[in-house]
Structures are given as C-alpha cells and as structure tokens.
C-alpha cells in the first residue's frame, strides 16, 4: 500500500472506530442520569403486553 492510502485508512479507522469506542466508554461511565424530573415511572409487565394508550 502507498503511504497516503495507509494514512487515510488509519485516519478513517481512528476517527470512526475511535468515535465508537469513545461513545461506548462514555456510556459505560454514565449509563444514565440520576436526576430525572419527577414522574416517568413505567408500569411494565413482561411478555406480550397490549399496547399502551396513555401515560
């Protein structure tokens, strides 16, 4: 491979896969918020449930 092609291959991998790794790491460190507004609790049952019509 030419040096230019290698450079752009590495750049593509670094930027795109780097973005994936960074977002995965970010998500693992902060999976979710701890300060949700009040409310928003779900009444969820397992298995096949009828469709929710309202909250």
């Amino acid at each position: 491979m030419t040096a230019t092609a290698v450079f752009f291959l590495v750049l593509a991998v670094a930027l795109v896969w780097g973005g994936l790794i960074a977002s995965v790491v970010g998500l693992s460190r902060r999976p979710g918020r701890l300060d949700f507004p009040p409310g928003g609790e779900d009444d969820h049952r397992e298995d096949v449930a009828p469709v929710e019509r309202d909250t």
Binding site: L9, V24, L27, P38, D42, P50
Partner: protein, 534 residues
C-alpha cells in the same frame, strides 16, 4: 402506568419495552447495519474521492445523520407510540392529521419490506450455492438467467421457484419473530445475530487482507482524490449514504425509541448506534476492496477497470466470481452471504416492526395478531411482485422511488413540520436533555431543523427532476409511471385513508413526560380527558 405526575392510572395498559439499554442499542445497530453497509458504502466511497470521501462522509454524519437520529428518538420517546401515534401527538389538538405523515412512513416501510425480503432470500440461496459454487464461470448469466430468469419489464405471473421458496421461508421466519414481540422476538434475534454478524464479517475481512492484490484494492479505496471535494455531487453522495444507512426518517427509530422506558438515556446510545453503523461501513469497505483487489490481480487488470462494484452486481455477480477463484472460496462465500442475510434480516425486522406497531395501535391488535395479519398480506404481495421473472426490474424500480423520493420526502416533511410549522424544536431538545447524559445545544435545532431539511430538500427536488427528464435505467415510461411514481402515489393515498379510519382506542388525551419547564410551549396542546387520564 403513570401520568406525568407519576400517579397510577387505572385501566391504562403497559407498553412493550426493551429489556434494557443494551437490548435497545443492539436492536438499533441491527436495524442500521444492513445490506447498504456491505454493498453500497464501499463503492460509493470509491467513486466519490476515495480517502477524501471521508471528509464529506463525517461531515454528513455529524451535521445530518446524528441530528436526525436524535430527532427520531425524541419524537418516538416523548410521544411514546408508533410513527402515526407519535406524529398525531406531536401535532396536538389542531394538527392531529399529522398522523398521516406517520402512515406515510409506515407505508414506506411496508413497501420496502416487500422487496428487502427478496434480497435476503437471494442471499440465503447464494449461501447454499456457496457450498458447491453452483453459479459456475458465468456469474452474471447464472443470476439473471438460471436463477432469477429475468424477462423484459412488465407484470409477469411466471413464478421462479428458486426465489419463491426461500422468500416464503424468510417471511414465515420474520412473522414468527415479530409475533413474539419486541423483547422476546426482535431484541432476542438481534442479540444473537449481531455478534454473529460481526464475527463472521470480521473473519471475512481478515481473510481478505491476506489475498494477493489486497493492497491494490485498499490503495484504490483509500487514496484520496481531493479534487472530488469540489464536486457538489460528492457531498450529496455522502449525505445520501449517511441518510439511507442510519435507518432514519422513516419510522424505524421513532418506533424503536417508543419502546424504551421513560427514564432512559437517549443521546449517548444514539452516538453508539451512529458510530457503530459507520464502523461497520469502514470494515465493509476494507473487506470488499481487499477482495476486489484480489479479483483485479487474478484478472491482470487494474481495480479501476472492474465493473459491478455496488449493489446487486457486487454481491451476486462480482463476489461469486471472486469466490470461485479464491483458495477456500466456499467458506468465503458462506461467510459473505451469511453476513448479508443476517444483516438484512435484522434490518427487515425493524422495518416490519414499524408497520406492526402502527397497526397494533390503530386497530387495537396484539403483537401476534398484527404480525400474522400484516405479515401474511405482505408475504402475498411480496411473492406476487418479486418472485416472478420480472422481480429484479420491479425491485430496482420500487427501491429507487421508495428511497430517493419516499424516504427523503418523509425526512423533509418531518423536519419542516416539527421545527418550522409546529415549532417544537425547543420542546424536543428539552426532552433529549432531560433524560440524556449527552446534552444537545441549540446547534442541534439548526442542524436537524434547518440544514437537514434544506440539504435533503435539494436532494429530493434534483432527484425528481432527473427522474422526470431522464427516466430510469432505460425502462419504459409506462412502467416507471406504474411501479415508480405509482409506488409514491400508494404511499400518499394509503396515508390519507389510514388516517381517516377511526381509532380503536383514541391515542389522544396524552400528556408527555417530562413536562416542559415553565415558560416552555404547551407540549400537551390539544390533550383531552379521554384515553384514561385522570
């Protein structure tokens, strides 16, 4: 079930949900990673500047792909419903008819599913053919003649058993999975197939890197042509690739986000999904072009002289020819067509979940009822239209109009209505920021509400003009009117008809959670006291 204040509402029913964040992310990646990642991205990148294409591609990802993905998440999660339900609630009291945009998206998904299933059936067939390299030396002749038995454009009812049988089997499989519901069906299959896909495709890529001529193929793909960046069409190609690859703007991500718990992180998982999708495209680019480099080396020609570098030609003509010449070819073929089938199947599930969810909510059906009724109707239409001797031409035509007209129009309309007409940009941004760990700023409103509709609007208008002036692939005008423009007409008419039908149970009287901060626009405009609200 609880209201925005958190109290339980008697008589209200729970919504299906993913089992958690990882289940949702895997399902969303499974939806985004499809046939286009494998057979479209490498060729598009190669033809639009090679290594230099990385620049418009990443710009498109950041300025349109991710913002529209977040818009879909926000609409689906805040208004907690399929595309018709979510758009009806988004529209509120005075614009409940915006439900029709949701049905427009449902119809796009319905039609796409009809032919997407066929391509998966082809991939499954070629998976089997790989064992004995059944396509022989003339792969193009085998595909068009022996396998698909392609005739002239028209409407044929001469069925091709070699297509029909795997097609029916794929439909039965997808109906069974959908009938099991979101968590036990769609999520479970994605949790199994996605890791399998990554392992199989990674093995294929690693093998391809050790082939003679692989370096030449990678040179061809990654050597930059910076002059291409001055060509507007290269930028349009980048926006198109990102847009069609991410499963955005036609109901999928709205539907998937609606199955998340209310207290769910939206934006950071969205970044994971978006970068995972692009990561797979880069992986596919490496694997496909290393393999093409080998093919060129075997032929004694330059990679630039090869034909059939994208789509059906790449997958079912060029790749079989390569497999035939490769040491250990059958295993390579099995990995390639197995990957194609798995990537397609997980995307197909998401497309049909949009349709299933829409009908579940409008007509009060269970997931099982919707899967069987919608699935059987779709299967019959799919068989009638695409398992005949005119199936390939019909697929090519319907796909072009459904994507380039249907999906792009859907994206433009969603952006225009959400941001310009209803002025819900601040509400949707507040929603994202209230539940997510990655906060979006005002720039998101500009990108999703201004830039994306303008770029996509330009793409839409230019494509319409081109199709009217130049036609498509030299097919007869009457055929394009029927199968191309007719498809779009079906989207529009069905959207209005389905909107006009009475709901089994009204989705109105809905109050989004979380409530807007003081001074925000009324998110519950038009909310009534029906539908179980106390």
């Amino acid at each position: 079930m609880s209201t925005s204040a958190g109290e339980h509402v008697a008589g209200a029913q729970p919504r299906e949900q993913w089992t958690g964040q990882v289940g949702f992310i895997l399902a969303a990646i499974g939806s985004a990673v499809g046939l286009g990642n494998i057979w479209r991205f490498p060729g598009v990148a190669y033809e639009n500047g090679g290594g230099a294409f990385l620049i418009p591609y990443l710009v498109a990802l950041v300025t349109a792909g991710i913002p529209i993905l977040f818009l879909d998440y926000a609409i689906g999660h805040r208004f907690r419903g399929s595309a018709p339900t979510a758009f009806r609630r988004l529209g509120g009291g005075r614009m409940k008819w915006l439900e029709s945009l949701g049905w427009f998206q449902v119809m796009i998904c319905f039609v796409i599913a009809l032919y997407y299933t066929v391509v998966i059936a082809w991939a499954a067939s070629y998976f089997v053919f790989s064992f004995d390299l059944r396509w022989g030396d003339d792969t193009a002749g085998f595909l068009v003649g022996d396998y698909l038995q392609v005739s002239d454009p028209g409407l044929s009812f001469t069925f091709v058993p070699a297509v029909l049988i795997p097609l029916v089997l794929i439909w039965v499989a997808v109906i069974v999975v959908l009938a099991f519901g979101v968590a036990r069906g769609v999520q479970r299959i994605n949790v199994i197939f996605l890791p399998l896909l990554v392992v199989a495709f990674a093995a294929l890529v690693i093998r391809s890197l050790f082939l003679d001529g692989a370096a030449d193929g990678l040179n061809a793909l990654f050597t930059p042509d910076f002059a291409a960046l001055a060509d507007p069409n290269v930028w349009i190609a980048a926006y198109s690739q990102i847009f069609f690859s991410l499963s955005i703007a036609f109901g999928i991500m709205i539907t998937y986000a609606s199955y998340r718990r209310r207290r769910s992180n939206l934006t950071t998982p969205g970044l994971v999904v978006a970068f995972a999708n692009s990561s797979f495209e880069i992986l596919a680019g490496i694997g496909v072009f290393a393999t093409l480099g080998f093919f060129a080396f075997q032929q004694g020609v330059d990679v630039a002289e090869l034909e059939g570098l994208t789509g059906v030609g790449l997958s079912f003509i060029t790749f079989p020819a390569i497999v035939s010449q490769m040491p250990g070819g059958p295993i390579f073929g099995i990995l390639f067509f197995g990957s194609l089938a798995m990537a397609g199947f997980t995307s197909l599930l998401s497309v049909l979940q949009v349709v299933s969810a829409g009908f579940q909510e409008k007509f009060g059906l269970s997931p099982r009822q919707a899967a069987i009724r919608v699935g059987l109707v779709a299967m019959v239409l799919s068989v009638l239209l695409f398992s005949t001797t005119t199936g390939l031409i019909a697929l090519d035509t319907v796909d072009n109009w459904a994507n380039n007209i249907g999906i792009v129009a859907s994206a433009v309309l969603a952006g225009v209505f959400a941001f310009w007409v209803l002025r819900k940009g601040s509400e949707l941004r507040s929603h994202l920021n209230a539940v997510s760990t990655f906060r979006v700023g005002g720039i998101w409103t500009v990108l999703a509400g201004v830039l994306a509709p303008i770029v996509l609007g330009y793409m839409l208008v230019s494509r319409i003009v081109t199709l009217i002036v130049d036609g498509y692939e030299g097919y007869p005008s009457w055929y394009l009117a029927l199968m191309g423009w007719g498809t779009v007409l079906v989207f529009v008419l069905a959207a209005f008809v389905l909107t006009a039908i009475r709901w089994r149970r009204s989705p109105d009287g809905f109050r989004p959670w979380p409530a807007l901060p003081e001074g925000g626009s009324r998110a519950d405009a038009g909310a009534s006291t029906e539908g179980g609200r106390s």
